[in-house]
Amino acid sequence: MIKTQGLTRRFGDLVAVNDLNLEVEKGEIFGFLGPNGAGKTTTIRMLAALIAPSSGEATIAGLHLGRENRAIREHVGVLTETPGLYKRLSAIDNLLFFAKLYGVPEPRKQAERYLQLFELWDRRDDLAGSFSKGMRQKLAIARAMLHEPQVLFLDEPTASLDPEAAKVVRNLIETLRSEERTIFLCTHNLDEADRLCDRVALFNTRLVAVGGPQELKERLYGRRTVIHLADPHPGLEDALKLSFIKKIERVDNTLIVSLSDPEEENPILVKRLVELGAKVQFVNELRVSLEDLYLDLMEEDHAPN
């Protein structure tokens, strides 16, 4: 649905996006993660045919960037970093305005549908300027979806929302997944990306890593089992002597064991520990957050060669 090849954007001497190569499938929720100033918004602007790349190519919904920009804008929806609503217009007037610009066949019906869906119908005649942040964000997402785009670019959709409103927006994104829409999600909320995204790209002017959240974690850290022992049992690590153990670390009474196939290897490991006289209290898989992964990869990316 989205394909880029060597997509680059320069502003004078500054390279905002460098040689971006990406493929996003239809119906995928794709997280685009990176620090402030990494070039995420510039990437969205290029992919939504708002600004031109300095070099490289891209196709969005099968349309060529640069040659079919107007058609691209007809097929994508963009939620910008700020809701950008007309505060002096009512909620329904905001939606009607955009529905008409997008050439939606029955603008009023479509506006009503989305106001109902986002539970804003009762406030349809109120000025957008009187809405809470959460309501504004919902209205802005409704605006981005009015023309039923195949691709939706969401730039920080839950930023500055309270937890309740953020949950509403996240649930909505989940709903969109079932509608087979492609969602390109820029977010700083790594927990949100971990929960929502099929794949994520870590980006800092250039692509640092791309893959499923779990896949990336396993790629970087492998799979680790945490074993809590009742007492320290010194020398246990050396006595284990199991060939499948990749690495073993100890923190007080806890062993952290890196394994390739924990489902198969954990029972053997636990059995061996018991044979060696260790009192095993708990066995867990060590869960690494996307935040840990992000911070480590970004640090690696910044580290001098």
Binding site: R45, L50, I51, T80, L85, F97, K100, L101, Y102, R143
Partner: protein
């Protein structure tokens, strides 16, 4: 054309809810009508050759200031308002073309300015003619008609072009309004000079002013359209 209409209607809907714009659009034309009526009424008894002509020329000038001044506030708030609300990017993400957006915004300022100018001019004539006892000679002649119907649109266009250029660099609507007011002075000065004379409004003078305004408007609108491109708006505008 459809998208230009959509922009036009949205701009007007927003303007009607903006007290600053409403005040300017209602108060200024009424003030000009009142001032012009009082002026020609008080001058009805002056027995100096050419005095009536000078007073009516002055009144004509009042109604040629309106099409230059009324669009200033509408255009300034239209662009700076979008900047303040952060609504330009979602707007640019729609399939609207840069030219459609520019024309929608420009016409949203020019059309009300012309309606208000011509409406208030009609009101002035309707009130003043019975008061001064009929149309004085050399008033409402073809050059007069050419001035009010030919120069007014040009003054509006020039004013909108200047305001759009200024607004692209400004972040405050009032500042944009003030700077644009100064920038349109060169367009109005010839009218002021011209109204102070007792000479007849001639087609030559109207044509000269019109030609200057056409050239100035083309230059200003050329640059305004140039800065009104997506790429420019998103990457260069303040």
């Amino acid at each position: 054309m459809h998208r230009i209409n959509v922009i036009l209607l949205k701009e007007w809907r927003e303007s009607l809810r903006n007290k600053m714009i409403l005040f300017g659009a209602i108060f200024l034309p009424l003030f000009m009508v009142g001032a012009a009526v009082v002026m020609v009424y008080q001058g009805r008894g002056i027995d100096v050759p050419g005095a009536q002509i000078a007073l009516f020329n002055m009144a004509l000038m009042y109604f040629l200031i309106l099409p230059a001044v009324i669009p200033l506030a509408i255009a300034a708030y239209s662009i700076i308002g979008e900047k303040e609300q952060g609504s330009l990017e979602p707007l640019l993400a729609t399939p609207i073309s840069d030219l459609e957006l520019f024309l929608g915004k420009a016409l949203a300022s020019v059309i009300p300015a012309l309606i208000l100018t011509w409406g208030s001019f009609g009101l002035f004539l309707g009130v003043s003619i019975p008061l001064v006892g009929g149309i004085p000679p050399h008033v409402l002649t073809p050059p007069w008609i050419a001035a009010i119907f030919g120069l007014a649109p040009l003054l509006s266009l020039f004013s909108v072009g200047v305001t759009m250029l200024v607004s692209s660099r400004a972040t405050d609507a009032r500042a944009a309004y003030q700077v644009s007011s100064l920038a349109i002075l060169p367009g109005i000065v010839p009218l002021i000079v011209y109204s102070s004379r007792k000479t007849l409004v001639s087609l030559f003078l109207v044509g000269l002013e019109g030609a200057v305004l056409i050239v100035a408007s083309i230059i200003v609108l050329y640059f305004a359209i140039k800065v009104f491109r997506r790429e420019q708006i998103l990457t260069r505008w303040k």
